[in-house]
Symmetry: C2
Subunit: 329 residues, 2 copies
Amino acid sequence: MTNTGEALGEFEAIAEFFAPLAGKGAPAFELTDDAAVYTPPPGQALVLTKDAMVEGVHFLPADPPDLIARKLLRVNLSDLAAMGADAVGYLQATAVRPADAASWLKAFARGLAEDQAIFGCRLWGGDTTSTPGPITLSLTAIGLTPPGAELRRNGARVGDLIAVTGTIGDGALGLLAQRGELPGLGAEELAYLKGRYLLPQPRLAVGRCLRGLAHAALDVSDGLVADMAHICETSKLAARLRVADIPLSPAARAVIKRDPRRLADIFKGDDYELLFTIPPAKAAELGAIAAKTGVPITLIGEVVEGSAVRLFNADGSAFDAAGLGFTHF
Amino acid sequence: MTNTGEALGEFEAIAEFFAPLAGKGAPAFELTDDAAVYTPPPGQALVLTKDAMVEGVHFLPADPPDLIARKLLRVNLSDLAAMGADAVGYLQATAVRPADAASWLKAFARGLAEDQAIFGCRLWGGDTTSTPGPITLSLTAIGLTPPGAELRRNGARVGDLIAVTGTIGDGALGLLAQRGELPGLGAEELAYLKGRYLLPQPRLAVGRCLRGLAHAALDVSDGLVADMAHICETSKLAARLRVADIPLSPAARAVIKRDPRRLADIFKGDDYELLFTIPPAKAAELGAIAAKTGVPITLIGEVVEGSAVRLFNADGSAFDAAGLGFTHF
């Protein structure tokens, strides 16, 4: 833990806002040392990921700092979920403007406190610095899996069924809602979509259940088709997706009913749902996993020979992506 | 590994510049998965640290990207050195302006490649995103120590001698040199100081040798006195430092000879030397460590009862810090 940039009283911010998130003792010793020391449980592998968020690029200047903190943590936890890992700790770096650093960091740390209690992980360290520019954040999340149990992208096999958790498109539509670009939509739908944009749900419980079941998995951040393409590329196979089966929330359905061209937006990512492939013989277990975790799981396609992602209508005809105004994901 | 911000061709940048730094297989699978998977050697503890750097705050816009990359990695490795750890891997997040992202990231990755070969660690993942504002970087370094062997800040004891590696003040004076604020200094001295500012030397080899010898340690980033105060605070003791014994490079001596008030600058930090306390009975071993590692080690004071850092002249009288224009570190 090094503290740089004199202007903001980082030492005070760290002691007051962040040290309580670290707690006494190892790994992070209330952030009083240069680094954290973590002794993993015997026989476990560590899973590590790091994502950044930039004001104006990944969040809006008006988004509440506590929700930004929770989203930052959650998008990283979503990567752990995609690997089938359990979260144990995280390190964060914040670059904030000196003028409102104290109030911003206070709210930011409050958000982290809420979510680390929910997800069972602790702050292990980081850096708080000043910037003249947009608020820029990054977080490194650390998880555990039994060795060899991690879910990879490259294991899909021909004949696998393709499944997805939750609903798709809410994050991208929620950003439009937050920007005021969905006029006329009901207040309830707007609130739901904004909530999905601000606070994704990392599917850690589902990821854990998929160890030993899923052949390939990732979390949907770039967009359903783009991320399916990542699985196809690394697995050297193709995918067929049934557009009518892609799970949509009532709010997303209401948006698309008002303007059918909004269907294009559901492919824009920021979903943080798990997309995975599973052999047909194991698909029967998905119902029990959905029941156990409270997260809907929907079959939306299958893995085939080839090298592309193709979209189909319910009747088996090719889906006209160009007609939606997009030909390239 | 999630890739956000469409404008810069991150997928191409990752595949071309960063995947070779990760290599095939675990932990990072050429950056094709959501996270890295690392199985630590049995019986080892992990040491984790994360530091950020912001253009205009921690580096100058004209600093070469490959040297910025190496400094970013090295300031984190310096934190590992301070804990007595060996480096094994790192994750990085870069937020760069789309206009020059490709050329900037190419040079940045070249710098990482050079240094990961020197320090024996590999890229485990990260995030490449766009920003409209200053280039903002962060890096998480992961190291290993035998459990319980890590060096902490809180272990200093009364009677310990205080030692420091290398020379102090070159980083802060090098920043002045880089800004053109040391007119009249010789070309050789300028080049030396600029090099020390741009490319700190993480003292990993010394840190490893200090396991089981040093009672307390950290790396000097905030400034010699400020960092000594961190050891004093966590150890609940005081320190006496002999200003005349603080090791200075010939270039730093030349600067101070020209303008004695520049002595104040040597306390401004960015040194990335190890500052540690060691019982007098063990101090005889420091000569062998210096010889083995090629890094000078200098005794500069001792740990006493109390709660402050006090500076003294060679004759034992109190050093007049206020006369240098600073009373508060």
